[in-house]
């Protein structure tokens, strides 16, 4: 009896939950479609269908367990990877961020020039017939009129009230905007075109002045070109996300759009010295940094493991102190080290009695990076080396001793080779991790020192991943296309290294 009612309760709960989830996703999908995000919208619909199918039928039991995990992986890991692949084939950077339709619209909106006299009028903004309107005072000619997006309404001088500067303050049918709403209304008025006469219109400069201007560019939809109305210049789609006049690649219209350029982001990394040289320099430092880190951390960790590999007074205390750097949240530790390396007040200079500008000199900065990473990383190798040392059978060492080997020989011929065999997958994993150790570089040196005045993006301590971040978000030109291309190159490198390591450790076979 109890079990029946519990079953019913569970079923009801399940249906309510499913209905709720479906409703939420349906709402999200709808608003995604409303914002023209079709891919996301379709994905959300698919999520609803899949969820209902999985939990209302008994077709696939494994799917009941998998679905939430798979959906999260698809949405936030797999799709960003695919999107990265896509972006790497696009000219997708500052100035080429929007879609083509949006770019055409923005070019049209921005393309105007003031009339030859540079006429401007004092205005008041408000509404007329409940539409946005401006009350314009042509003080020189003592003429006043109202202007909306659609029409211009002349006003007789008697109808307007003026202030002491002869600027119209109110007019019949015109309600000025209260001062407290001015800021909020900015987007309704600025950048818009109020009717003036012939091809000229009024455009706001601030909230109380409008200038007389006219359109310079017109979009010819059939040919997909922009034409300059005044001098007749034609701007054509240059195939790389911009409208361009003639062959001059500088004569382009802003903004551009994100356009497919296929493998150009990759090819310019090979052929264009401006991208190739920093990339090679950064790559070399990345390899040096990762190797030096693995070597130093492993050497110190192993030395400690050997030193503490026998009962010793205070071994427990040593052990708990030695793992502290590893237990600390690394973000905090790196920031603390950043303070210690401060050239003016830092503890390192105080301790050494030096006056070194650690982060301004490339070689000192690189040294600092490796020292800090040694601090962060040696406990790891201390822990795993200790474990590995204990895993080496004692009989082996005793047998060697009986055969007359001295301790040094035992270590070099037996302990070390065995240790390396056990630890090599971890050494490789550590190399792969440090290859992408973004936090350390970003938080300690920011990749610097770099000569940003010369427009240099790659700093002396930048590793590939922090260089990529710098390209995508750091500098004034954010090049998401190029950054994606480098990301994928890094992934191929790191994945090869990791797969090699996994094959060595045979993790895959034992797990599958």
């Amino acid at each position: 009896m109890i079990s029946v009612s519990r079953g019913k309760l569970a079923l009801t709960a399940k249906i309510v939950l499913l209905a709720l989830i479906s409703a939420i996703f349906l709402m999200l999908a709808q608003s995604a479609f409303a914002q023209k995000e079709y891919v996301i919208g379709v994905f959300l619909f698919a999520v609803i269908l899949l969820t209902l199918f999985t939990y209302l039928t008994k077709k696939s039991i494994p799917l009941k367990f998998f679905l939430p995990g798979i959906l999260l992986l698809l949405a936030f890991v797999v799709s960003p990877i695919l999107y990265t692949v896509t972006m790497s084939g696009f000219n997708y950077k500052t100035g080429n961020i929007v879609s083509k339709d949006e770019a055409v619209l923005q070019i049209q909106n921005r393309a105007f020039e003031p009339d030859s006299a540079g006429t401007s009028f004092d205005i008041k903004i408000g509404t007329f017939e409940s539409k946005p309107a401006i009350l314009v005072s042509d003080i020189e000619n003592k003429r006043y009129f109202l202007s909306t997006f659609e029409k211009r309404v002349p006003l007789s001088n008697g109808a307007v009230t003026l202030n002491e500067y002869l600027v119209a303050q109110s007019a019949p049918g015109f309600s000025p905007l209260p001062t407290d709403q001015l800021a909020a209304a900015d987007s309704t008025y600025s950048g818009k075109r109020f009717i003036f006469k012939d091809e000229y219109f009024l455009s706001l400069e601030g909230l109380d002045v409008a200038i007389v201007a006219r359109q310079t560019l017109t979009y010819l939809e059939q040919q997909d070109v922009f034409k300059n109305i005044i001098d007749g210049t034609i701007y054509k789609d240059n195939g790389r996300g911009n409208y361009q006049a003639g062959l001059d690649s500088a004569a382009i219209l802003e903004p551009g759009w994100r356009a497919p350029i296929w493998f150009e982001n990759y090819s310019k990394l090979v052929t264009d010295a401006r991208f190739r040289d920093p990339l090679i320099r950064v790559f070399i430092w990345t390899v040096v940094f990762a190797s030096a880190t693995v070597l130093t951390t492993f050497a110190l960790g192993l030395l400690l493991a050997l030193a503490l590999n026998k009962p010793l007074h205070g071994r427990r205390i040593y052990r708990s102190i030695l793992v502290l750097p590893y237990a600390m949240p690394s973000v905090m530790s790196i920031l603390i080290w950043g303070g210690m390396f401060n050239s003016e007040f830092g503890a390192i200079n105080a301790l050494l009695g030096t006056d070194i500008a650690w982060f301004q000199n490339p070689n000192f900065a690189r040294t600092a990076v490796i020292v800090v990473n040694l601090w962060l990383g040696f406990p790891y190798f201390y822990l795993v080396s200790s474990g590995a040392l204990q895993a080496i059978p004692n009989e082996l060492l005793e047998a060697a001793a009986i055969d007359g080997a001295n301790p040094r020989q035992i270590f070099r011929k037996i302990t070390m080779p065995l240790l390396l065999q056990i630890l090599s997958p971890l050494l490789i994993a550590s190399f792969a991790f440090n290859f992408n150790n973004f936090n350390l570089i970003y938080l300690l040196t920011g990749g610097g020192p770099r000569n940003s005045l010369d427009g240099e993006i790659a700093g002396a301590t930048d590793i590939l991943i922090s260089y990529t971040y710098q390209i995508a978000f750091g500098s004034s030109t954010q090049d998401l296309g190029l950054a994606s291309a480098i990301s994928l190159i890094i992934f191929i490198l790191v994945a090869s290294i990791s797969l090699y390591g996994i094959r060595k450790s045979k993790v895959l076979e034992s797990f599958v």
Partner: protein, 283 residues
Amino acid sequence: MNKWLKQDLWRHIVALTTAIFALFPLYLVIISSFNSTGSLQITSFVPREISWNNYKLLFTSPAIPYLTWMKNSLLVAGSVALISVVIGSASAFAFSRLSFKGRKPGIQLLLLVQMFPAILAISAVYVIMERVQTFAPGIGLGTQGGLVLVYLGGAMGVNIWLLKGFVDSIPKELDEAAKIDGASEVQTFWLIFIPLATPVLAVVTLLSFIGTFNEFILARLFLVDMESRTIAVGLQQFIGGQYSQNWGPFAAGSIIASIPIVIIFLSLQKYIVNGLTAGSVKG
């Protein structure tokens, strides 16, 4: 005595020197936090005073909404840890126990996907979440909800992998017995597997918590508002470029934020080392 010198002295020298190296920054940050001037400059390596000034500043100064940051970190890391372990353990159970078409390629694909460092796809995540923001402002760029979702996706690979290793180690006879008694797969999962796995689930939850608590760059990119930042982002932005002025409160803040993590870490050391040798988790 001679034997002791010969055999043990070098061990103590190595251990002691490294211990000093390990403790030095921590010692420094602790004495800085009790220094009333809050200055980065070290006038003496021996503490002269114990002042709680920096700690008081943390909880009173409007320039550092420290408690809010801490709350944000706990909320974000806590929800990511709990949800990802619940969802991850269900997937791990299926990978380990259920037979279905495509199981093996599925595991290999999972291994490959979890090898892709999340940070490599960071521009894509940014652009995607920027778009999500346009239609779902609660879970897009700039929100903690969006950050949690991205973390959850990223945590899936590693967590499923870790938990699968554990499920593999539970004897199959147990769930076969349950099956004979007429339990469905779902019942086996809830009534046999979950109770058995509770300690391991707790460990993985805590590891996941530490990992998320430590995450910096996604949080930095997502959480722009002062009030929405996590402790890592908040303190980094607070100290960024202002080492000399903000050092004292920063030192105090980083100590308070680190203590719980260090405690969790030390109490889980055994599991973490095991996890390390399996080639996963932090490191």
